[in-house]
Symmetry: C2
Subunit: 343 residues, 2 copies
Amino acid sequence: MSGAETLQQIVLAQYCDGVPKPSDFRLETAPLPEPKDGQFRVAHVWCSVDPGTRSRLSGGDSYAAALPLGKPIDGFSVGVVDASSNPDWPVGTKVFCAGGWKTHSIQSGKGFIGKVMDVPGVPLSAWIGVLGVPGLTAWFGMKDVARFKEGDAVLVTSAAGPVGATAGQLAKGWGASKVVGVAGSDEKCRWLVSEAGFDAAINYKTASDLSGAIAAEFPKGVDVLFDNVGNAMVDTVLPLMALNGRICISGQVADYNLKPEETPGIVHTKPFITHRVNMQGLVVFDFARGFPEALGSMAKMIASGALKIQEDRFEGIAEIPEAFCGLFRGENSGRRVVKVGAE
Amino acid sequence: MSGAETLQQIVLAQYCDGVPKPSDFRLETAPLPEPKDGQFRVAHVWCSVDPGTRSRLSGGDSYAAALPLGKPIDGFSVGVVDASSNPDWPVGTKVFCAGGWKTHSIQSGKGFIGKVMDVPGVPLSAWIGVLGVPGLTAWFGMKDVARFKEGDAVLVTSAAGPVGATAGQLAKGWGASKVVGVAGSDEKCRWLVSEAGFDAAINYKTASDLSGAIAAEFPKGVDVLFDNVGNAMVDTVLPLMALNGRICISGQVADYNLKPEETPGIVHTKPFITHRVNMQGLVVFDFARGFPEALGSMAKMIASGALKIQEDRFEGIAEIPEAFCGLFRGENSGRRVVKVGAE
């Protein structure tokens, strides 16, 4: 079979134990599926790797439904319709969708799928990055969960990641009094300040006293903590929260690989009472009705240069496991996307 | 000096280390203060002891401002104006106020003070119980922080305490689909079900598997956790929360005596994302504008028998330290009030 006639996909070879490794996954080929009535086929151009996927790779339904062995891994893709039995989605339509770690997916137009808006200056890959789940998580997490308001002093963690970088830039654009990022290298910190317009950035790996470094940046306390790290980070920042502060739990990348008995606990809970701190997480699909407005706004911001994006590109579907596993080593600067087909 | 001419008060003799003990306190007498212009004097009839006071007795400003050694302890009182230079508060007015652990206090009409409403069938002591901070905490915690809505399945901890018992009864009266209490003795559990109208009660001291016992009562998950215990309880219930569940941190009686390094941590934080759980505490004074409405409603409920109150009465100001310290041994059933003067 030629490449054009087969589908390639990454499947779960064995359940992950702790930090995922490439050998937990396997590349498989299958016959290219044909769309039935009402369906259409998307030839993926880019696939994304997301830290949140980790929570479904341990076997057992702890929180999210576990993926079974041998099944392709879920993930987000952007591509072009290359076969269609659905007049609303003709051949040539550019779409983003929950296509999985595959070269092609069959879609019906339901669930998480949308048409790529034609905004000059916005790369196609952005539609699984800032214009995909990461950007939407940043938008609705900051606006609806953290209930951002003008003048808030905002701390963003994993700030150089696609969610954090977007969250911080949105807050800044919406009138934050200060936006500070926490990231894992001097290079990431420099990018945050010089490119993404953060007021300051703290390298947590070299800070001798992370709590003290954050406190120094927030003499009046943190109004919004937008956290992508997990319990240890939340526990560090809680005593520094301002009155009526809000914590948005956007992600927990440091905790995804840990068993409950290994997971750090949040101890400093008194500010929930004394400072009326509010904490909540989000699943971005709850906000689906607002996606078109958010995507349209962010696409324009990217095109105008008001929202900087940073991508970490890989080439070829076989690279997906390595790209994914590297997320947990903090290697990535920006959104990790893997090219799996021609644009 | 005769008793009528002196003020008696309980002062902090030494900072509490761990569980408070009566010798941390001292009874003192002082000359009876006279009200200046605009002031008036309240002869306290009842004083209350509140677990939350513990957080201010360790010295050092950790969260709440620490009380200095030798100073009288803050607390709530209900009594009668017995001297006045303020025409709005004439002699004979019955008031509740933040009077402290004293036989008398000087007030100006500002801060936490109000006139006792004349509702037949409501004992004066109720105005520092269900009609004081505990009841108001239950009311606003359930209504505004937990955002209770009809049909919610509600779990209340320290349910036989004055806050918990009120919170559960209010939820039941407002249309909860189920109200379950967690308490520390079979006698308390019996009172909750047979008197206070809870649907079920769990004795956490004898339950071999508290999490399993709660799960069995909530097959569809807990919509509202109204917690008065602290981190360990929150951590136990978090995995049992329903989608869009809300946790009101009303009190942390199990944690007040612990140093941060001894305090249990909240580990099971994934439901904040997967189940969009929201968690917040409260300081009831934020809701002061709503006090008259809440107090009026609850007074009528008490008078009609719709809201049961349970009091644990002590006699004489010298008993306050013992009454307070016993709170941390889980001895009390209902609100602990100490009679310090004639009605």
